[in-house]
């Protein structure tokens, strides 16, 4: 039996099929194509390459954010519809964890970042020891400067990852203990989504197809503005 995994939280489009502990196929791209156009074609191809039939899919895993609001909804709508049609579990996994999953065991602090626009990123520090990935704090929205200040004060190496690094690289002075991950570790990949999903499935966890929402972290601008105008808590 196989897990079909989808990752569309950022500009990276990635689909993977995990059969047992074997990564049977993965299709990962970072091109100027929209997720809406390519996602289902990639799902079809990834399943075909892995020679996995529809009825062999035992769960659908999806990266639920934070990330591009529209990208998250494209991936989640597709994942929900397949999980519903095949009557299999839906497994949402947080995107920052998907990135952090690139590291398996290290003494460094892993700090995945996802673009939150206007010089900000969603950030969450992780530790990874012998395969145990642990978040060290909640997801925060911080400016690039704040993130680098925080990382520079750490007493250990800090590895930044995520494709938003292209907005930091060469534009900020990096503290001596801060390292930027190379290109292949900057992309959130569906293989990681599948592995995290498999762990949830093994723990008998799953999400409800009827009400799972993306992990937006941020509210819509209209709501923020409305509350500013009308005063929070005043009704």
């Amino acid at each position: 039996m196989s897990i079909l995994a989808i990752e569309t939280a950022t500009q990276v489009s990635s689909v993977a099929v995990l059969t047992g502990t074997k990564l049977a196929s993965e299709l990962t791209m970072q091109a100027k194509l929209t997720h809406s156009e390519t996602l289902m074609a990639h799902v079809e191809q990834a399943m075909k390459m892995a020679a996995v039939k529809r009825e062999e899919v035992e769960a659908v895993a999806v990266s639920i954010g934070p990330g591009s609001f529209t990208g998250l909804r494209i991936g989640l709508a597709a994942a929900k519809a397949m999980a519903y049609a095949w009557e299999v579990p839906l497994l949402g996994v947080p995107t920052l964890e998907v990135l952090a999953q690139h590291f398996w065991s290290t003494d460094a602090c892993i700090l995945p970042l996802i673009d939150a626009q206007k010089g900000n990123a969603y950030a969450q520090p992780f530790s990874a020891r012998a395969g145990r990935l642990q978040p060290e704090g909640p997801i925060a929205v911080q400016s690039f400067g704040e993130i680098l200040d925080w990382a520079g004060k750490e007493q250990r190496p800090v590895v930044l990852l995520g494709d938003v690094l292209r907005k930091i690289e060469g534009k900020f002075e990096l503290p001596a203990n801060v390292h930027l991950a190379p290109a292949h570790l900057r992309m959130p990949r569906a293989a990681n989504v599948a592995v995290l999903g498999a762990a949830r499935l093994a723990a008998s966890e799953s999400d409800n197809v009827m009400d799972l929402e993306p992990l937006y972290i941020r509210r819509s601008e209209a709501e923020v503005l409305w509350e500013k105008r009308h005063g929070e808590g005043k009704s």
């Binding site: 996602l39 009827m210 409305w226």
Partner: protein, 338 residues
């Protein structure tokens, strides 16, 4: 009896809807989840909030449509979905879900133009209706006259150069302090007013042209409201609503019948959200009688954004062999194919 089951999905604006249609005309279910209360405090539809509601509502609405139709997922023969026009983020939720569902069930996918869907609502309202006929499409974003030669041939005769009729309704309503959505509020208020109280212009009301323009009228009403306020006069809102509505309705009525005559059509149908305006329905009915033309409108539920009309359009599209592939994308600025 045609037993093909089409699942329709619609999420172009602030309604999440799913429907099951049997054959081309029999609606087995038409579930509509409206977000109007959510957007009311903002005075209009907020795209990001609409998209956030769609992603939560989409599966329950589809599930309910199947249950109400008393069919299972496996009975569905094809999936039809609105791919434009509309709000891009909102459209993408329905499109993504529909593409995925069609793939998962191994059935054909049909991308449907929402505006064509509005016209096809008439086939559900009247099962005997057959093309050719002329359609007057009046919605929040569009005002157009379309000649429907057959189930797959549409000719756009004219549309609005600027604002759609629905936009003018919403704007005037907002300035007069009426709650969103403004169209039905103006309709209600107009019933208490005198439509001849104020003489508002009827832009582009010249015979022979099928084009509309409502921005001039909108400005005239706004200028009137402003000048009355400056003079310290109390505004008779019902009279403003009635007079404004009359200007819009008279232009729509005259152009629609002129176009029907020019195209040689004996049937006129009304389509789109503004089609639920009671005065527009009444005036078109009256004029049709006088001119000996068959007129029909879809009724309140089928006028709003709903998935049954999308399934209906999809059914006839599939019959003509126009299916979509896995690369179908949302097209927010989609117009009538001309």
């Amino acid at each position: 009896m045609d037993e093909i089951l089409t699942l329709g999905i619609e999420s172009s604006c602030d309604e999440t809807s799913a429907a099951v249609l049997q054959g081309g005309r029999e609606v087995l279910s038409n579930v509509i989840s409206t977000q109007i209360p959510v957007h009311q405090k903002f005075g209009g539809v907020v795209p990001e909030i609409a998209s956030r509601k769609h992603i939560v509502n989409i599966m329950p609405v589809i599930d309910e449509a199947l249950r109400k139709a008393n069919v299972t997922k496996k009975d569905i023969d094809q999936v039809a979905v609105t791919y434009g026009p509309g709000l891009v983020g909102a459209l993408l939720v329905g499109v993504s879900a529909a593409k995925s569902l069609a793939f998962a069930l191994g059935v054909p996918l049909i991308g449907v133009n929402h505006l064509e869907g509005h016209i096809f609502a008439n086939f559900l309202a009247d099962r005997e209706l057959e093309p050719p006929f002329l359609a007057l499409v009046v919605s929040g974003g569009h005002t157009a006259l379309v000649d429907v030669a057959d189930y797959d041939t549409f000719r756009l005769l004219g549309q609005t150069r600027d604002d759609a009729a629905g936009e003018a309704f919403d704007k005037i309503a907002r300035v007069m302090g009426l709650p969103y959505p403004g169209g039905p509020e103006i309709d209600r208020l107009a019933k208490e007013g005198d439509p001849f109280a104020i003489d508002f212009p009827r832009a582009l009301d010249k015979a022979g042209s099928s084009e509309f323009s409502f921005s001039g009228l909108k400005s005239a009403v706004l200028a009137y409201l402003n000048s009355e306020k400056m003079k310290g006069h109390e505004i008779h809102r019902a009279n403003v609503a009635a007079s404004f509505q009359r200007s819009v309705v008279e232009v729509l009525v005259h152009k629609a019948f002129d176009a029907a005559q020019q195209a040689g059509r004996k049937t006129l149908v009304l389509a789109g959200g503004v089609a639920s305006n009671s005065n527009l329905e009444a005036r078109l009915t009256e004029e049709a009688k006088a001119r000996g033309i068959h007129f029909q409108y879809p009724g309140r539920i089928l006028c709003t954004d709903n998935a049954a009309m999308i399934a209906c359009r999809g059914y006839y599209q599939a019959k003509a062999g126009h299916l979509s592939d896995a690369y179908l994308n949302a097209v927010p600025g989609l117009n009538f194919g001309v």
